[in-house]
């Protein structure tokens, strides 16, 4: 994994969506953590779909179906 996290980018992304929202110190790290875990779940689900499809490559359709599930899950 990468050593440096794009913290500034994260901040800017969040600002773009919600300009009025402020971020405390190091909160973006936690945001980044959340993002990593989201990717993790997405990848696992896509991998499961690919296994079920008996293909050794993750294909877009696997990802789509995985995204549907994980996005709903990570709404909180």
């Amino acid at each position: 994994m990468k050593a440096t996290v794009p913290r500034l980018t994260l901040r800017k992304t969040l600002k773009k969506h919600k300009p009025q929202l402020r971020l405390a110190t190091n909160v973006d790290l936690l945001v980044h953590l959340n993002f990593l875990l989201f990717l993790h779940r997405l990848a696992e689900e896509a991998r499961t779909n690919a296994f079920e499809d008996k293909s050794k490559i993750i294909k877009p359709e696997h990802t789509i179906s995985a995204a549907k599930v994980i996005l709903k899950k990570s709404r909180g």
Partner: protein, 572 residues
Amino acid sequence: MLKRVIQSQPQVSPLAPRISNHEDKQEAHAEVPSKRVSSMGELQLPDVAPENRITVFCMTKKRKKLSISEFERAAERRLPQYQGKAAVKNSLAQCCICCHSLHMSVGSLLAPDTVEKRGLFRRPKIRRAVDMQEFEGRVEQYMLKSKGQNYLVDSPSGIRTSILTSDAEMMMNTTELFVQPQLHEQSQNKSALEPQLSNLKTSAERSLISDADQEEARLEGLVSGVSTNEKRYSKSSRLDHEHVDRMTHISPQTPAKQQEEKQDHSHQSNGMAQISFTEEEVVCTAEHGANAGYSEHLEKKLSEKADLQITAARDNRGETEMAPSAGEELAEGSIGAQGSPTADSEITKGIGAESLGRHSHAFSSFRKPEMTPLNETDEQGGELQDQAVMLELNSSVEEPAEDEAEYPASQEVSMKTPAFVRAPASNLLLSKPRVAKPASPRSPVQQLQPKVLPRRLGTSERKPREPQIPRSWIKEAFRHFAKMPVTTDAYRIVEKCCERYFQQLSDDLEAYTHHAGRKTVEAADLEVLMRRQGLVTDKTSLNVLIERHFPLQYRKLLIPVAVSGNKVISSS
């Protein structure tokens, strides 16, 4: 000699118990069976002889020498009892084969018994081996070989056997279970019996085997044929339908998918099943639109193929429910059209169910392409699909003609399912690409420009660059998590997912912060979010996750770290 044979050798045939009882009656009943009265009493008479032959017959497979010598002796004895042999053969055949026709019994009797005829029978039997009687052919060949040695013994009978063999051949070539008694002469019967012996014995087996083989062959042929048909029609579907963009999106997946399905014959995930199902519907629609008359046949094939895969793979889809109900309808047409045996008809029944279900889907998707993809949640999609399934079930119950009437009703509902499946994909694709893609290609280029341009030209910033998580970083992270090769198309989808995710995330954080009466997002808010997501549980705390995923420098920032020397490094 007969008695010795019986006693020495174990009883293999079902007639064995009778043999011992009827040793005495052999000669008395020799004449009766010649008349071909198929009564058990008469049959029992020459039991000794036929049983001997039966045992010998069975023996021939194992011990040629013994049987040959025995045959020789039996032949010597039986030469004068020509008539008796016929009777014996009759009884033998009937007893062992449980055949009711005299001809068959005669033929069966002839097979093991007649020394004089064996040599002549050898030839037709060898020819018969070409027929579907592998096992029995081998047995007969053994018999013939054993008989062949005795061939020289009976020349006059050999002539008769030649005549008989011709008849036998005719009988054999018909490959019928029950050869109708056409021959009235004993010789004919005898000849018929011999081939029929093997016929009768293996008729049941052969029929089963042949049916099974035919079924398999047909299914395989249909599967292969369907694949090609599907490919063709998938291509035609692109041209025919209005939603070329959507159909093309799905239809190119269909041949690949169907190929995968064929190869794998496994289709377990519901998501995949939905997509493939709709794709098959699309293909069905394409086929239907292309050629109404031919489409039926194709759909049957398609349904057969799909049925093979689907019924094999998807149990939870409830398609099997469709299959039996819809199969009834199509069974009529399929049976009538194909004239297949019952086994095949069952298969076509199941196939017909699928095809009918496809019909409804095909019609719906074909006639209502204008339906915009609904912004449906997974629940809605599930409901719609359930409705579609129910409609399919209802439609399948009715006659095929009636099904068409129901198509418009089922179309609406079933139309939603493909729309639904397409919805998230299209949402992801249509809504996001415009936003993301123009931004993404710009950013790497613009990153270079501001460095160069402001220095040299001093112009104003040209980059209203949208903050974006670097693609390569996403790719690497995803690949690391997935541990499998990922296609580039999948990465694009992941990017869109990330954008959506960030939107959701910011909304949630704002809600939490506002709920807490603050304006700044704090770590506690993040923790609440993660707890609600299910990432942080009573078992795994936030710190655990931090330690897992972050390098030390970040961990230090987030978690108070105790260091030697009585020092504590905290994020405060």
